[in-house]
């Protein structure tokens, strides 16, 4: 599957945007300019971008507590996201959701989710909608290795396999669930093997390799669109930063983290691959880096200048009918 130059530049731009966005948030939260529980996606960019590049706005994704990357990959407006995280009225959720609930249904983004595993049935429902309403759409659930131990995972995959739903279950296996190593709580090496409980197709991708993720996601999404049923796609990846901003990281070794960051950074890998193949020049990528930095700086500036929600908003949007 050969990507065109514009496709390559777009993929890089999204991955860089995620990385830069997350680094900026770490800075802002640490500086006390932003509040809430914040889980950053740095290191896992290739997964979100490698999968979402095959999706349209009419396809749905359900995300996790670590959802910024999925939003950006799915095309949610970065300025709206930044404003949301600043709790502004101009935020994509009007300041009511914050990091753990950041969403944009119009973009097919069904929201970050504060409940580990809860996005899996939501995506399953979106796939059921697509199938029964014949929209031709697919639904993707992103979730972590830890979430694969939730009952919602088991129940949803069984239903989806049974009904041959147009769904893809992307497990982001980053080796950790909060502070607990994955192998402390999961007795199998590959979460992908769990597909066999449902006679479901499965695949394992190198989550640090954009091209590998993209290729395997293309196959899975293709199967889903063709009505051939769901796939469990395991992406082996790594979280570069703490579980949340402020995590002292005392539970894992510096060496482990540095090994991944130095040798397996998805952005470095992408750059090496495309420049060595002569598809894109490093200069083009640097230009994107600068553009991304500017876009984020502008987003921060706009967000800080934006109005806070009116206190009366506290009881709106509870019901469609109106206030509670």
């Amino acid at each position: 599957m050969q990507l065109t130059r514009p496709e390559l530049l777009d993929a890089y731009r999204r991955m860089r945007m995620i990385r830069a966005f997350e680094l900026k948030l770490a800075e802002l939260v640490t500086a006390g300019k932003m509040g809430g529980f914040m889980h950053l996606y740095a290191g896992e960019e290739a997964v979100a971008v490698g999968v979402c590049r095959h999706l349209a706005d009419t396809d749905f994704v359900a995300s996790t507590h670590r959802g910024h990357g999925h939003c950006i990959a799915k095309g949610v407006d970065v300025a709206g996201m930044m404003a949301e995280l600043f709790g502004r009225a101009t935020g994509c959720n009007k300041g009511k959701g914050g990091s753990m609930h950041i969403a944009d249904v119009d973009k097919g983004m069904l929201g970050a989710n504060g409940i580990v595993g809860a996005g899996i049935p939501l995506a399953t429902g979106a796939a059921l909608s697509a199938k029964l309403r014949r929209t031709g759409g697919v639904a993707v659930a992103f979730f972590g290795d830890g979430a694969s131990n939730q009952g919602a995972f088991h129940e949803s995959l069984n239903m989806a396999a049974n009904w041959k739903l147009p769904a893809v279950y992307v497990v982001e296996n980053n080796g950790w669930g909060e502070f607990t190593p994955t192998d402390f709580v999961i007795p199998v090496k590959d979460i992908a093997v769990r597909a066999s409980s449902y006679a479901m197709a499965s695949a394992i991708a190198d989550g640090m390799d954009f091209f590998d993720v993209s290729e395997k996601a293309a196959e899975a999404i293709g199967r889903a669109r063709a009505g051939e049923g769901p796939t469990l796609l395991e992406c082996k990846t790594y979280r570069f930063m703490g579980h949340f901003v402020g995590d002292p990281l005392k539970y894992r070794t510096k060496e482990e983290a540095e090994r991944w960051m130095q040798q397996r950074d998805p952005l470095d890998g992408f750059e090496a691959r495309v420049t060595e193949a002569g598809l894109v020049a490093s200069a083009d990528l640097r230009a994107i880096d600068r553009a991304v930095e500017e876009e984020i700086a502008a987003a921060v500036e706009a967000a800080e200048a934006a109005p806070l929600p009116d206190p009366s908003e506290v009881t709106t949007d509870v019901y469609v009918g109106g206030a509670a």
Binding site: K94, L110, G151, S156
Partner: protein
Amino acid sequence: MTQQRKLGFGQAVNEALRIAMETDPDVILLGEDVAGGGTREGEDVDEMGGVLGTTVGLVKAFPDRVLDTPISEMGLIGTAVGAAATGLRPVAELMFIDFLGTCLDPLLNQAAKLRYMFGGKARVPLTVRTVTGAGMQAAAQHSQSLYWMTAGIPGLKTVVPATPHDAKGLLLAAIRDDDPVIFCEPKSLLFAPGEVPEGDYEVPIGKARLVREGSDVSLIGMGATVRMCEGAADQLAKEGVSAEVLDLRSLAPLDEEAILATLEKTGSVVVVDEATPRCGIASDVAALCVDRGFDFLNTPVRRVTAPHAPVPFSKVLEDAYMPSAAKIVAAVRDLRT
């Protein structure tokens, strides 16, 4: 009013489901045995239409829109929420409300909150049908009236009809409501017949029903306890006490104006609920009376509910457990002495 046909509560629900599916192609049913299995090619078998037969016949009428699910409440309710947020208008069946413990999250943290968390950018037109209440010796895990748990969750609506007429009209309103609604079917009423109009009509969610007028005391019930309140009112009438009976119908939102109106009229309220006493609808009604209704109160507000205990199996114990007309009459007598 012209002589109307009588239907059982369950039949009224079935009719509402059929009308809703005929009038909106996005309405689907899913749940355990709602089709009712047994539909293998070439086998001379028939479907059950739910463990209580409420959905019988619907899979034949709408073969692709009535889905038997695995025994996976978290998965089926969560799937229904996701489907509702993306274009369908699902009616999910939670076989008994006692099973809420296996699927609370998709209701508590997803269906109820998506719209708010997303700043108004989502709607979840989901209806969950479920069976509530005691009276069939179904014991501790199949007899609870847990609607207080869903009524207390902002973002959900909860209704419990007391008659086949309201069952049909409230279910049609619930399915067409753009917010998630928990629709309760009291076990002890499921086969009780009542007059049900033909055709398509809705009973508005959020409006109580004045069952009978009275001037001395207000008996406020819901679902299965409305009949008990009427029985008590009959008995009290014999004793020269004029009891007004109000059927809440909608537990969330609560019809506060109707409650305050009957309190103002009689100055005395007895709330009757099959549920356990703590953190329930009866407490909310009493709290409303002593807040906005304080100036109207001539007597204490009494709550006739189940005791703070699980539902027992043995018939004698279950009878002692449940509210009854006799217990309501005793409460009223006590208020008046």
